[in-house]
Symmetry: C2
Amino acid sequence: MSGTAIGTTRQEQERSRVTRQKLMTAAIEVLVEKGWAGATMGAIAERAGVSRGACQHHFPTRGALVAAAVEHVFRQQVEELVRRANGLPESRRRVEPLLNLLHDVYAGPLFTAATHLWVAAVADEELKAILLPLETQVGREVHRLTVELLGLDERDRDVRDAVRATLDLLRGLALANLLHDDTARRRKVLAHWARTLEAQLAPKRATQAD
Amino acid sequence: MSGTAIGTTRQEQERSRVTRQKLMTAAIEVLVEKGWAGATMGAIAERAGVSRGACQHHFPTRGALVAAAVEHVFRQQVEELVRRANGLPESRRRVEPLLNLLHDVYAGPLFTAATHLWVAAVADEELKAILLPLETQVGREVHRLTVELLGLDERDRDVRDAVRATLDLLRGLALANLLHDDTARRRKVLAHWARTLEAQLAPKRATQAD
């Protein structure tokens, strides 16, 4: 292969990557505004400024597109969460700021888009089949990450249940925050929850000596 | 007025009541299946077996119809909750069965319908204006009811925060239950939270001497 051919291939790969990202970002935006019923391939392609044909080339179905979009934005959010968590001071009082951080990352446009998808899937077996494995994977990863950020030992049953409850609480808080800014109420709930978690989990923390 | 005229009026009132109930039940069903975008007045009237004209006579807009439907089904669920809660044995270990009961009543078709509405309202100011007062009213009532069922004293700040957290947790669990039966995981989470609540609130229970 000549150098030019390789250069062209790289350019094509880069263009392809950019097009995919545009489509995934547009998919989340259109989902937030119009829900699953309104998030047609045409509407998403138009929002992304990409032709219908190019859209279909990258994602054969809108199911494949929204699944890829949810996963892509989820990865970005995990990166953001880890970066911001690393910026928190090491301290025994780290639980409350960590919970607020988890909420902030949790309750963004991805949550709104995902809620549209999840609720639409209740009456749509095809969409459900796409979302179930994604839900399992994302759920496991968020659980693992939360255990790690809180410095806990996952082998303890009480730890597992407390982390599960914490994530269910965060999901409920994100839902409560959909229609109006629920920050004042949420701060109280998370402060209360943090105190509860600290009292419960203090004896269970993984040794931080290493 | 003659007796016949009064009889006719009563029959008309009864017919009107039945038609309203049919429309409200149909509105929740259609919302669960098709979401806000698909829950047109035509689709709801058809499901209820009521003419478009009669539908419009009872509810001038679909916003008015779905708000009435959410409130109507909510009232029925509160009645069911109170009836089932009254059937629970009086005991200090009442918290866990009460939480499971709250979940069962919480996570039905009304929750799915309401989630469709709430998430659609994120990008729909008109719908948001209809739902916000409803959310406030339902939220307050569920809070008051939970305090009462748990036999707590609402004046205590810790009690208020613990009840808030409990309801946010239940909302999150209901969302997790949308796509698949999450019962096994949920039972563990609620058992864990019941133990936590019991330990936290035992000293705060309203005196049950009266």
